[in-house]
């Protein structure tokens, strides 16, 4: 059922406000906290969903190279965190700790844009 080009263009009207369940929830990030602690509360709450999302990226990457790409992520991207400017290395380590996700995979998510722009 997905529509392929050329598509039918129609300008929508009266779409706002959208359904209440589509509204995104709000959180506070306290910049006065040490970087490693800023994300703890949010990361813990969203840990299952973040794990799901990273699993999807790994599944995609795993389709190439028989899992060797994932091995490279775990081996090389975790040390990359320490080369990142302050305060980002500590923030990523805090997220990894709060979610119990390997640091290399948290780094992968945070540098995914740089990977993806080809």
């Amino acid at each position: 059922q997905a529509q392929v080009p050329p598509f039918t263009e129609k300008c929508e009207h009266g779409m706002y406000p959208p359904k209440a369940e589509s509204k995104v929830a709000s959180y506070v990030i306290n910049l006065d906290l040490p970087p490693a602690e800023r994300w703890t509360s949010l990361a813990k709450e969203k840990a299952p969903q973040i794990r799901d999302m990273i699993a999807e990226i790994k599944a995609f990457a795993g389709a190439f190279g028989n899992g060797s790409i994932i091995a490279l992520v775990d081996k090389y991207l975790a040390p990359l965190a320490d080369t990142l400017p302050y305060p980002f290395a500590d923030e990523l380590k805090g997220i990894a700790k709060a979610t119990d996700i390997p640091l290399g995979e948290v780094v992968l998510f945070n540098v995914f844009y740089e990977f993806f722009t080809v």
Binding site: Q1, P5, F7, V24, D32, E56, A59, L92, N110, E114
Partner: protein, 253 residues
């Protein structure tokens, strides 16, 4: 992605965006969805970044991602970022970084720095236009005064072009997708023409967040990759966001 900065007849500025992500990362033929886009929607969050109990800026983030893709610094500027594809892509900058050449900025981290430190539209524009980066990008900025709106087209080294609002000459909105604005978009992914048409149909007199939400909810500006729509108004420091899904029939990108 599609980002829009628009100005109403009184000079009030509005900024909104669709965040599209997940192209080619697993098409679910049963549900007509992109696998990664589906996994991103549950981790969309609004963040209020505070120091000393006061808001410094607000953003829409994916939980676990510490950089910024969509944000407002109240009474100062609004910001969004669209992906720019290039053969000289971010993976080259990434390899250079790993090999020890670390003079470039990571997109997400540069934008954190801009939102935390820039104190004006002009300062934000200068920072986003001039820093060496690891990856190309489009930065879309809105300010507080009439005419303060810009699309900064970035290569890794420099700003290739800055297109600004010019309401005195009829350019009362800027709309940016994922292609350089001085070239035609590919016909298989032309969200610019329908977006421009819907903005023109909306007219400057009706410029407000609900009407811009209508434009961003119109296919193919809304498509199967769209994860959320964010709406921002700088004077009020307002940001709101909504998870988006594109009901069939809907273009995959």
């Amino acid at each position: 992605c599609t980002s829009i900065v628009a100005e109403d007849p009184s000079g009030k500025l509005f900024h909104a965006r669709n965040l599209d992500f997940g192209l080619f990362l697993g098409w679910d033929i049963k549900n007509n969805t992109w696998a990664l886009s589906e996994k991103l929607r549950p981790i969309v969050v609004n963040l209020d970044w505070q120091r000393g109990g006061k808001t410094v800026f607000k953003s829409v983030n994916f939980a676990g991602y510490v950089g910024l893709l969509t944000a407002v610094k109240p009474q100062t500027f609004t910001y969004s970022m669209n992906e720019r594809f290039s053969a000289d892509g971010g993976y080259i900058g990434l390899i250079e970084w790993i090999l020890g050449q670390r003079d470039g900025s990571w997109m997400g981290f540069l934008t954190r720095e801009v939102l935390e430190n820039a104190t004006s539209f002009t300062e934000a524009e200068t920072m986003l236009a001039n820093r060496t980066m690891l990856a190309p990008a489009y930065f879309i900025l809105g300010g507080t005064k009439s005419g303060e709106g810009a699309i900064i087209t970035r290569s890794r080294e420099r700003a290739l072009d800055i297109k600004r609002l010019d309401p005195a000459n009829g350019r009362w909105f800027l709309l940016q997708t994922n292609y350089d604005n001085w070239e035609n978009p590919p016909f298989i992914d032309d969200r610019r023409t329908p977006g421009d048409n819907c903005m023109a149909n909306m007219t400057t007199a009706n410029t407000d967040l609900p009407h811009i939400f209508d434009v961003l909810s119109s296919k193919p500006v809304l498509n199967k990759l769209t994860t959320y729509t964010a709406l921002m108004q700088v004077d009020e420091g307002h940001i709101e966001s909504y998870i988006q899904e594109c009901p069939d029939p809907c273009i995959p990108w």
